[in-house]
């Protein structure tokens, strides 16, 4: 089998910490409480999020890499880590002004922000909210 018959992906994990509150203003206080439970606490709470980014592309024979890690790191830092780390997702990330910042929606938002990475194809984004739950989005 030649190399071209293989599909190779590069995976990189990033970390940020942020606070959020799950609350839908279209629902009553009781419904919010019933649906979101502790996550509806009006003072918010936080997580150490881990973001796994997977990219595919040709392995450049000169470097052995699908993408230069420094390029990828600076892109992810600018698009996701800087705007999200040690922030309130509800208050400080415009995408969540009108959307509930569940990790499902967060995962889609991160995918949307990273889709334009110029040097390789974004295959999937997986977000771990805690070590016990994670969410993956691979585009529409």
């Amino acid at each position: 089998m030649t190399a071209e018959q293989l599909h190779v992906e590069l995976g990189r994990r990033y970390h940020f910490s942020a606070s959020h509150r799950l609350h839908n203003p279209q629902l009553s206080g009781e419904e919010n409480c019933r649906i979101y439970g502790k996550c509806n606490n009006p003072h918010g709470h936080g997580h150490n999020y881990a973001v796994e980014v997977r990219l595919s592309g040709k392995i450049d024979p000169a470097t052995g890499m699908i993408s230069n890690l420094a390029d990828l790191d600076s892109f992810v830092n600018e698009k996701v880590i800087e705007p999200f780390d040690h922030r309130s997702l509800n208050e400080e990330v415009p995408a969540f002004r009108n959307a509930v910042p569940t990790t499902e929606i967060l995962c889609i938002e991160i995918f949307r922000r990273l889709k334009s990475f110029p040097y390789a194809k974004l295959e999937a984004v997986r977000v771990q909210e805690t070590t016990n739950n994670s969410f993956e989005f691979a585009g529409e």
Binding site: L6, V8, E9, L10, G11, R13, T63, M65, A70
Partner: protein, 141 residues
């Protein structure tokens, strides 16, 4: 179809250097990884085999057999070795995660005779890995 995954860990040294580039370009492209004295990692390899469980044994393949294949093909070749110098399959290639995963795929695929090699995931550390699939293999695990 059932997907069975076995994990092994090995430690090896490597460095990144492309003789076709100038020393300055090598340093710019590869950064710290260009140090000619090399450095090392604890690699973690996850190998996933896809197949139907045998009706008699209930196994996709015997884990003892897989363990032996991984020992022979990967551990003996790469564990506590210098990947640039001691692994002929990597000769002429920069020993990145992507290239090592690809080499491991080619070493393992012909040896897997029960079930099919579905995926090779190689971690260089917990924040960096490469996945290898057969092109068009579709769904993921």
């Amino acid at each position: 179809m059932v997907y069975l995954t076995r994990k092994i860990e090995f430690s090896a040294s490597h460095f990144y250097h492309n003789p076709a580039l100038s020393p300055e370009e090598n340093r710019r492209v590869f950064g710290k990884c260009n140090n000619p004295h090399g450095h090392g990692h604890n690699y973690a390899l996850e190998v996933t085999i896809a197949g139907e469980p045998d009706p008699v044994t209930g196994m996709v393949l015997d884990l003892k057999d897989l363990k032996e294949i991984l020992e022979r093909e990967v551990m003996q070749r790469m564990d506590h070795r210098h990947l640039n110098i001691e692994v002929p399959e990597l000769k002429g290639q920069i020993p990145t995660c992507e290239n090592i995963a690809r080499v491991i795929w080619h070493l393992l695929e012909p040896k897997i005779t029960q079930g099919k090699l579905y995926k090779v995931r190689l971690y260089e550390n917990s924040d960096l890995f490469a996945d290898c699939y057969r092109n068009g293999a579709g769904a993921r695990t």
